[in-house]
Amino acid sequence: MKKVVSKSLFYVALISILMSVTAYAEDKTDAKKDAKTEIKPELTQAQADEIVKLVDDRQRNSGDYKSLVFVKETEKTKEPRLFQAMVYRRDGDDKFMILFTKPKEEAGKAYLKIDKNLWNFDPGTGKWERRTEREKLAGTNSRRSDFDESRLTEEYTTKYEGADKLGAYKVYKFKLSVKEGIDVAYPVLNLWVDQADKNILKREEYALSGKLMRSSFYPKWNKKFSESKKADVWIPEEIRIFDQLEKGNSTIVLIKETDLGKLEENMFTKAWIESKSK
């Protein structure tokens, strides 16, 4: 059992990815400040902390969010599986929803997260399953942090590891180690942050043993102005995740279309999701 559940759980991973990296709001005033005080490759600890805090701050999006997402899950020796889904967030109320739209077998299935409840709906039976945080994570290597917004500054201490290059991009490389007494899925992270835009371009996640578990790459970013934030929001268009435990397994997440306008008031409800399957 352990063996199976310790593998990347698709939905868990998907929710985790979509909840933590979908929106990087860039405050215009911050951008101006950055432009004035251009950070040089040699960073003080304070500057390093400030950059990671910026990454965190940009992920806190109080407004509504909607996107069309494609996921391709590739496993070694197996045929890839593809999904299309709509992802909805209302960060102010900590609500989150995935509504699968393709393929046909998955269409109408949904995950609805309200507080600590993760509801799972299957239109085939019309039944809802409530999974408490405890249950949902039982036996998996996922933690609560996977489902929350980015708390890098709260949970990790940052160590600047120097300037680096990722392809043509100049990046800052940070090593983040978990703070004492905090329970996270991956105690050590390596982040490659674009020097120019402060977007994460690469992220490596390590287990306590020091073993590299997962490498993620964020080659494309999109920008969208949010009325509620009065600021630009940065959205990774493409995320490529490589499973380092099971070499050859990878996931591509494509966030193709995004809308930051206000969503219907009653959207994050069972009734709304049920109404989509007739």
């Binding site: 059992m1 352990k2 063996k3 199976v4 759980l9 698709f10 939905y11 868990v12 996107s67 069309l68 899950e73 590739t74 496993e75 045929e79 599986r81 593809l82 299309q84 509504l99 739209t101 393709k102 393929p103 046909k104 077998e105 109408g108 299935k109 507080d115 600590k116 409840n117 299957d122 085939g124 039976t125 399953e129 409530r130 999974r131 408490t132 249950e135 990722l166 392809g167 043509a168 991009y169 100049k170 120019a196 835009d197 490498s215 790459f217 080659p219 970013w221 999109n222 920008k223 490529r240 990878s250 591509i252 494509l254 966030i255 193709k256 279309e257 409800t269 069972k270 399957s277 007739k278």
Partner: protein
Amino acid sequence: MTNLMVLKIAARNVFLHRMRTLVVGAILTFGAFLAVLGHSFVDGVSGGMENSTTQSITGDIQIYSENAKDKLSVFGNMDGSPTDVGHVGSFQTVEQELLKNPEIVSVVPMGTSFAQVSPGNILDHFLEKIRKSFKDPNHDLQDIESQKRRIRFLVQEIKKNLEGKFEEIGILSATEAAQAKVNLELLSRDAFWADFNDNAENKIEFMANKIAPLIFDDNMIFFNYVGTDPQMFKERFPQFEIVKGEMIPPGTRGFLFHDYFYENMVKHKVARRLDQIKKKMKDDKLTIAGSKEVQDQIKANVEQSAEVYLQLGPAETEKVSVKLNELLKSDEKDFRVLLKNYLNMADDNFQQRYDFFYKEIAPHIILYRVQIGDVLPLSAFTKGGTSTAVNIKVYGTFRFKSFENSPLAGNFSLMDLVSLRELYGFMTDERRAQNKEIEAEMGLADIGQDSIENLFAGPSDANAKPAVATAKNADSVDLNFKKRIMGSSYTQEELRNGVFLHAAIFLKDQSNMKAVIEQINETSKQNKLGIKAVSWQDAAGFIGQLTFMMKAILNIFIGISLMLAGLMIMNSLLMAAMNRKQEIGTMRAIGAHASFIYRLFFYETLFISLLFGGIGVVFGALVVMLIGKVGVPASGDVATFFFSGPRLYLHLNPMLIFVVIIVMVVIAILATQYPAWKAMKISPLQAMQKRE
């Protein structure tokens, strides 16, 4: 000299040294007794296990993919994880080829894995029920009111339960605990319920999200299952029988719980403990007063009395309260105290209270978390970790006759192979085609990690900011889905044409197993079937190796005792040779050949070995025959599996007696060699010198 004379002298020597003979004889008797009884017992257990295993899951031989990552172990690994054996392309092709072998009677396709069902807690249950009622346009208002009262009562019970214990829930932070108190307070006010019907959907969701998680919830049911052709499975495993409900109809998707699992894992906790206590008292003759194990179960029932009172509505509570006070001859007003008093059972009132439970309480509680006839959304993780779910109807429960209480035989529930394939995540042609469409929409090429940095080639000027596009609006997807009705049937062709994970093969004659395994492997090579065959012992993994281990340990014990006996015989013969130097020398002087001396010693040893070995064999055989009649009771559920029934009946194998006698002769021969050689070296001269 004749052999008869040698025998007489040997017998005289045996009786002359009675003490020595008795000590050696006792050890030989014990060795022979142990060999007969021990081997009969191990053979009995081995046969029982073989029956339990081959008749519940493995068949005589199992086949699986020759490219499997792990070795097949149908019971999983030692840590409970399933083995990764991949899959084999087409069952029909494999079956057709294998059935050409006249030794093979049938091939039953299978796949074993695990899945889970999450029925939710008691509040989830009632909230879903009332939600459904509100959705029904012809809903009965009186029924709704009754359900509301039921829920309100339950919420009050939850509030009472948590009073002063919020911190103990563990998962709540101080802020969350404070909020939970406020929410519970809100629900205890009439205002919340006054406009319930006008705003039912929101109120129900509020309770589902804010109150239901406050109930300690361990309702997730995990279980192993075997996906197969249910009709074929029933036919090929003759001990299979339906206990509750009905058999999955032919060509229909469906699920059967193993009755042992259903009774021990799906049943209401308090009820199942009462059943277990009753069984222990009846079968194992345990008493509550005398068994700590039973006392612990009584204690657990008292501590978990909430499992009962949270499920009873206000009217039921009142009704049960009156009956309980009558039963206990008390006048307790607090139902919780009353229930605890009732559940605190003793030997003299257990049966009466047990009967009361099923008559007065069980009809008002959810006795089984999954009901026969329910359609389950059953979810599982595919090989790659992807979560999938199928909706499947529970038709009933089954068991295997004679080892119905075996947890190992009860390890697997059963479903049809078509549903298993879906749960396991095999791709259908339709899904494959849709995959292509989605892939085209995505428009992204696969890039290996080695060349991933090409994605960061970026603009030619490395200092330039990456070009950032404005995200497209997300409004182009049609969100009106047609409810996918899960196919409830399948054709035989569909079942046989698809993949399988492993399969059970039944033989005409099980003694040909080894030869058939070789033949199957050869057929696979010739016809590129991609399969390999293993015996049922190998397929049973660590369980299959248990008999081998038991036999090895037993033989070590027997070997040690016989070796000890051999050494003692040798030592005593050596002493005898030294003591009888004069006698032997004289014999040599009057013309006895060295071979005579050798025979003298050999017959002496043979006499002891056969006499005492024989006593041991006879004694062992008598005990085996006695156990063959009365049987050894299986003291627990695990023993039931090993005994393949409630008692183990031993059978005497005549071959075993023959082997033990041969072993005795071999010991005699071996133990004689050195002392006889020493004796043969004694010359008449030595005897005479000694005398002088």
